[in-house]
C-alpha cells in the first residue's frame, strides 16, 4: 500500500516536472557559439538585450568548432541546440545535407532587409571578420607589404611567412596575388590558385591551424608576415606587439546564425534570429570586440562612432577594398573538391 502511494506521488511529481518544462520550453532556446572573448562580447551586446526584449531565456553553450558536433546531434533525432553561430559555410553545407532548418524570411524581417549576399536559405550573417595580410612592424618599419602580390614577392619582401592550413581565403589570396580582381574571384580557378600556392610553399615556415597560433607566431617574431584574422592581429597589437595589418585585398568572411533541423524550440529560435540581427544590437557588438556587424544597417544607427567604424572589417569603405567570400561556391561540389585537394597539396 505504502509502495503504491509513493509510486503515485512520484508519477504526479514527474508529470508536474514534465508540464513545467514544457511550459518553459516555449520561452527558451539553447544557443551555441565559439566561446572566449567573442562569446562574452556578444552576450553583452546581443544575447542579453535580445533575451530581455523577447522575454525569453537564452541558455548558452560553447564549442570552438560546432561543425563536427552538428551531424551526430541532428542524426540522433533529438538535438539539444537550437541556434548555432558558426562560419557561414557550415550553415550552407549543413542546409544542403538536411542538418539545418530552411528559414522563412517573412518571419525574419531584419534578415530580409539585409543584402542578399549576406544571407542564405538557411542562415543570416551575424558578424564579419577578415583574413588579412598582417606583418611585423619591426621587420617592415616602412614600405610594408600591402597586397598578396607583395606577400608572394620574396625578393622585395624577404622574411618568414605563415598561411592558414586551410583552403578558405588562402586560394582567394593566391588568385589575387596572381592578378585576379577581388570581385572577379568566383568561381575560383582552383588549378591556377594551387599553381600559385606551389610558388610560395617553400617560403612558408608555418601553416597555422588555430587563430591563437597565428597570433602567437606574429607576436613572438616567429614569422614576419602572415595571413591572419583581423581581430587576432589587433588584439596582439593592443598588447603592445609591433604588428599591423591591411584591409587591402582582405577576404571578408562571416559567421552566421542557423537553426538545427528539428530544433526543440523552433518558434522561439526564429524570433531570436530576427532579434539578433536587429541593427541596434548588431551595432553594439563592435563596441566590445574587433568584429564587424553582420547587418550593414548597424552603421546607420549612429551607435558606432566614425573612427571606430573605420577599424571594422565590414564598414562599407573597408568592405569595398576586400573580397567577399562566396560560401555558396565553397559548399558547391567544385568547392568541396578544392577543399579535399588541399590535404594532398599540404602533404606533397
Amino acid at each position: 500500500m505504502m509502495m503504491k502511494q509513493s509510486l503515485g506521488l512520484g508519477c504526479a511529481l514527474l508529470g508536474a516536472i514534465g508540464l513545467t518544462s514544457a511550459a518553459d520550453a516555449a520561452e527558451q532556446i539553447t544557443f551555441v557559439s565559439q566561446g572566449g572573448a567573442y562569446q562574452q562580447a556578444q552576450t553583452v551586446a546581443i544575447l542579453d538585450p535580445s533575451a530581455k526584449k523577447l522575454g525569453i531565456t537564452i541558455n548558452q553553450d560553447s564549442i570552438p568548432d560546432a561543425w563536427p558536433a552538428i551531424k551526430p546531434q541532428v542524426g540522433s533525432g533529438k538535438p539539444i541546440w537550437d541556434v548555432v553561430d558558426t562560419p557561414t559555410g557550415n550553415c550552407l553545407r549543413g542546409g544542403e545535407q538536411g542538418l539545418m532548418e530552411k528559414l522563412d524570411f517573412s518571419k525574419i524581417p531584419n534578415g530580409a532587409a539585409m543584402p542578399e549576399a549576406y544571407r542564405s536559405p538557411y542562415s543570416v550573417s551575424y558578424e564579419f571578420y577578415s583574413s588579412v595580410l598582417a606583418f611585423s612592424q619591426k621587420t617592415f618599419p616602412k614600405d610594408a607589404p600591402s597586397s598578396w602580390a607583395d606577400f608572394w614577392d620574396v625578393k622585395k619582401f624577404p622574411g618568414r611567412r605563415a598561411l592558414r592550413n586551410h583552403p578558405f581565403a588562402t586560394l582567394e589570396a593566391a588568385l589575387m596575388a596572381d592578378g585576379v580582381a577581388p570581385d572577379k574571384l568566383y568561381p575560383l580557378d582552383v588549378d591556377r590558385a594551387f599553381k600559385k600556392l606551389e610558388e610560395i610553399k617553400p617560403h612558408i615556415t608555418v601553416w597555422w591551424t588555430s587563430g591563437a597560433q597565428s597570433a602567437q607566431l606574429l607576436n613572438d617574431g616567429e614569422v614576419d608576415m602572415e595571413m591572419a584574422w583581423n581581430g587576432r592581429v589587433s588584439a596582439v597589437a593592443k598588447e603592445g606587439a609591433k604588428v599591423s595589418f591591411t584591409y587591402n585585398q582582405g577576404i571578408l568572411q562571416s559567421t552566421s546564425l542557423c537553426i538545427l533541423k528539428g530544433a526543440p524550440n523552433l518558434g522561439t529560435a526564429v524570433k531570436f534570429l530576427n532579434e539578433a540581427v536587429d541593427p541596434v544590437h548588431q551595432a553594439n557588438l563592435p563596441l566590445h570586440i574587433d568584429y564587424g556587424p553582420g547587418n550593414p544597417k548597424a552603421f546607420e544607427t549612429g551607435v558606432i562612432k566614425p573612427e571606430r567604424a573605420a577599424q571594422l572589417p565590414s564598414e562599407p569603405a573597408n568592405a569595398a577594398k576586400q573580397a567577399l567570400m562566396s560560401y555558396a561556391w565553397w559548399s558547391s561540389p567544385a568547392g568541396e573538391a578544392a577543399e579535399k585537394r588541399w590535404a594532398s597539396f599540404m602533404q606533397k
Binding site: D65, W67, P68, I70, K71, P72, R93, Q97, R160, N165, T205, V206, W207, W208, T209, Q213, D220, G221, E222, E336, E339, K340, A343, S344, M346, Q347
Partner: protein, 270 residues
C-alpha cells in the same frame, strides 16, 4: 567463476568492444554496405604518405628514446636505493605534467626567438636562427620527451631482475666490465628493451597534439587525418576507416611482439 568475472566482462564490453565495433561498423556502412572508405585509405597517396610518415617518426622516436633511456635506466639500477629513486622521480615528474603544457614549453625553447636560438646567437655560434621547430625535428624532440618514461620504466624493471651475481661471476672469470656488459647484462635486459620499444612505438603512432602544435602543418600524422576527416568533411566513415587501419596495425605489432615475449611483460610490468 563466470559470475565473478562477469562485471569485468561487462565493463570491457561497454567501454571497449561496443565503441570499437561501432567504429568498425561505421567505416563499412553508410546508407548500405560500402568499402569506399577503405578503398580510399589504400589507394589515395595522402593516406599512404601519412602512414609512412607516422611510422618513420615513431621509429625515430623509439630509437632516440632507447638511446637516451637505456643509460638512464642503467644508472637508476646501478645506483644505491635512495639515489635510484631520485633518478626515477626525475624521469616520472614530467610525466605528470600535461602534454599540452610540455608541447608549448618546447615551442618556447625551440622557436626562432626561443631560448636555444638566442643562446646560440649570444655565443656567436650561429648568425641566423636555426629552424628547430614547425617541422618533423621539433615534433620528434617533444615526442621523445613525452614518451621517455615509457621507455625507462620497463627497462628499469627488467634490469632490477638481473641478478648481480652473474656480473660478479663474469668479472671473477676475468672478463672486463665492458665484456660482462655486452655478453651478460645486455642480453638479459633485451626483454625490457623490447617492452619499452613496443610501448613507445605504439603510443607514438597515435600522437596528435605534438605534431599538430610543433609540426608546422606539414607533419601530418595519422591521428590528424582522423580529426581532419571529421572536422573538414564531416565524414565519420572515412575517419573510422583510418582509425580501424591504425588499430589493426597496432594489433599486428602486438601479435608479432607476443611471439617473442609474453605480452604481460610489455603491458603489466612488475
Amino acid at each position: 567463476m563466470l559470475a565473478l568475472v562477469s562485471p569485468a566482462l561487462l565493463v570491457i564490453l561497454a567501454l571497449i568492444v561496443l565503441p570499437v565495433g561501432w567504429l568498425a561498423w561505421q567505416s563499412i556502412y553508410h546508407d548500405g554496405f560500402t568499402l569506399e572508405n577503405y578503398r580510399r585509405v589504400f589507394t589515395e597517396d595522402i593516406y599512404w604518405r601519412s602512414f609512412a610518415l607516422t611510422f618513420e617518426i615513431s621509429l625515430a622516436v623509439t630509437l632516440i628514446a632507447l638511446l637516451l633511456g637505456y643509460p638512464v635506466a642503467y644508472l637508476a639500477n646501478a645506483l644505491p636505493k635512495g639515489w635510484s629513486i631520485l633518478v626515477l622521480a626525475l624521469v616520472v615528474l614530467p610525466f605528470w605534467t600535461s602534454v599540452l603544457v610540455r608541447a608549448y614549453a618546447w615551442l618556447v625553447l625551440l622557436q626562432r626567438s626561443g631560448v636555444i636560438n638566442q643562446l646560440l646567437r649570444h655565443l656567436e655560434l650561429i648568425s641566423e636562427p636555426l629552424a628547430l621547430v614547425h617541422n618533423s625535428f621539433g615534433t620528434v624532440v617533444a615526442t621523445v620527451h613525452i614518451l621517455l618514461p615509457f621507455m625507462v620504466l620497463p627497462l628499469y624493471a627488467t634490469m632490477q631482475k638481473i641478478p648481480n651475481d652473474l656480473m660478479q661471476a663474469g668479472a671473477s672469470l676475468g672478463a672486463s666490465p665492458s665484456l660482462t656488459f655486452f655478453r651478460v647484462f645486455l642480453p638479459l635486459s633485451l626483454p625490457g628493451v623490447l617492452a619499452g620499444c613496443t610501448m613507445v612505438f605504439v603510443l607514438c603512432l597515435g600522437f596528435y597534439i605534438t605534431p599538430e602544435l610543433l609540426g608546422g602543418g606539414r607533419t601530418v600524422m595519422v591521428s590528424m587525418l582522423v580529426s581532419r576527416n571529421v572536422e573538414l568533411y564531416n565524414q565519420f566513415g572515412a575517419a573510422s576507416a583510418v582509425a580501424v587501419v591504425l588499430l589493426a596495425g597496432v594489433l599486428a605489432i602486438f601479435f608479432v611482439v607476443s611471439r617473442f615475449i609474453s605480452l604481460d611483460r610489455v603491458l603489466g610490468q612488475k
